[in-house]
Amino acid sequence: MTDRPRLTLRLAGHGKLVVGLAIVAAIALFAIVGPMLTQNPRSSDNPALLPPQPGHWLGTTSLGYDVLAQLAEGARGSLLVGVVAGSLAIVLSLVFGVVAGYTRGWADEGLSLITNVMLVIPGLPLMIVVASYLQVRSLWVVALILGATAWPGSAIVLRFQARSLRNRDYVSAARVAGERTPRILLVEILPNLLPLLTAQFLFAVVLAILGEAGLSYLGLGPNGSITWGTMLNEAQGGSALTRGAWWWFIPPGLLIAVLGCALSLVNFSIDEVINPRLRQAPAAARSVRKARKAGLDITAYDGGDGPAAVPAVGVSAPLGDEPREKVQA
């Protein structure tokens, strides 16, 4: 009995984290286990364009592929691209952001210049140009392209953060103690960047998955591999929409949206850990709203009228609010 309210309280505080992690875990599990339980996603032995039914839970495509099998295989591809590209982006942003922020002089200027140039180059067109240059694109190549274009934004943020951290006393203290620069970066500064890095990594993963879907939809995705993006591309090519084959394009699209949503939820809760005020923000807004509505309520209670005054408050509060706001403005 005593445990139950406590548990709900704990979950109430981290609802976003719990929901986000649960969805991410479910999708990851689907990507790992799914391909073992479904049929060969490249076998076209099935009848074409079957609607969902037992045996083909998500129907088949116009070429007779099982959609569920493709979805599971595509989850692998999309997640792989996301994680590889996200990791590459975070490593690059660390080099260009933290090193630039910690050092001074030419190293800082040079690294910042590259970051700024990369920042103003529009990402998607660059990806399209690079991707269309390469005739053979494996999953890895696409991930590398995505990762190599996704880092400048987080590098800028990391640079300012590292600049602020380099002036902290504990970094000075480490220098006085005789620590070498690489160790100061890795041991003294990096741990304090971890929450930020995690958030940026998740954001980079979302961006990469969306970017891969975009590239694949344009036909510039990995050849020979199945991802959610290539499924959408094939659905487009097979005119799934005009044929009404909703089971072909809705599952991959929905999964992309749900995964992006879940990773964002995790990100929001990390933000709240970094900045606890965010967690109180909804509550604060609510109490402000309540206080506004109760503007006359307080005086009513002072007069000892009790509940009798409440209905009148609801009517008069909006009227009473307006002039007050004008005075403040």
Partner: protein, 287 residues
């Protein structure tokens, strides 16, 4: 006899304000000699350049002009020479809430200098950390070694910072306002700890402070700074009891004195206003 000598130290900071660039002279020709077993106090108000002097001696800033001599030889600024210098000269920072990395436990803070300077290796490290903690009166050491900075009080943190500065076996200690961020009730404890360690180790201590009373009590020589300049310098008692410079007199007048407790605020302000006529900005204490 080891000495740390500062000769005519100057520090300019570049100030960028929009298109205009100017230089701010934070420290203008500071000289003094720190000897083993003795304490030199640098006093002055905020912005007088005393912390910049400390940071230059700790080699966190490079002097624009002037020299720092360790045992008569100019100090090295890079590589092994710098490491050798750090082995001799250590620093305690002003704010113990900022000078300890919130991410690391106490043991990390003390282990690193021991390892870097080769004071202890392998299995010796842990006993050495515990010995350091005991020397700064944090017992039982096992308990404190596992704590993170936020689990300790300001005084305890500053003791950790002092232990860290002692770890390399330094002969000179730069203490940059070591108690100004601490609760008044524990300041004396930390200062007495510093004094005891100084006696035990025969340390040369540079005590940066704005508190004239503790400067007189704990130091042999006082250097008074105002806006980067040294306005007065000499043996502690002489400077405090017979101040020659108007600014020193102003500082002394602004310091609370228990014997004159109960004076009216207006009285004090009038007294300070008289000093201010000499051209120094005065922030009268209101007690």
């Amino acid at each position: 006899m080891s000495t740390l000598e500062v000769r005519n130290l100057v520090k300019d900071f570049k100030v960028r304000g929009g298109l205009r660039r100017s230089t701010l002279r934070a420290v203008n020709g500071v000289s003094f000699t720190l000897e083993a077993g003795r304490t030199v106090a640098v006093v002055g108000e905020s912005g007088s350049g005393k912390s910049t002097v400390a940071r230059m001696i700790a080699q966190l800033e490079t002097p624009t002009e002037g020299q720092i001599l360790l045992d008569g030889a100019p100090i090295g600024r890079r590589g092994r020479a710098l490491a050798a210098y750090r082995h001799q000269v250590q620093m305690v920072f002003q704010d113990p809430f900022a000078s300890l990395n919130p991410y690391h436990v106490v043991e990390h803070h003390l282990t690193r200098p021991l390892k870097i300077h080769g004071v202890a290796r392998g299995k010796e490290v842990r006993p050495a950390v515990h010995a350091l903690l005991e020397r700064v009166n944090l017992t039982p050491p096992e308990l404190y070694a596992a704590k993170r900075p936020h689990e300790m009080s300001g005084g305890q943190r500053q003791r950790i910072a002092i232990a860290r500065a002692l770890a390399p076996g330094a002969r000179f200690l730069v203490a940059d306002e070591p108690v100004s961020m601490l609760d008044v009730s524990i300041r004396l404890g930390v200062l007495n700890l510093l004094a005891r360690l100084q006696r035990e180790e025969n340390l040369g201590v540079l005590y940066i402070t704005h508190d004239l009373a503790t400067a007189r009590h704990f130091s042999d020589e006082i250097v008074v700074m105002y806006r980067g300049d040294v306005v007065e310098q000499g043996p502690s008692d002489e400077v405090i009891l017979d101040p020659q410079h108007d600014y020193t007199k102003t500082l002394l007048a602004a310091a609370p004195e228990p014997s004159r407790h109960g004076r009216l605020r207006g009285e004090v302000r009038a007294e300070l206003a008289g000093q201010a006529a000499a051209g120094y900005e005065v922030y009268p204490a209101t007690w």
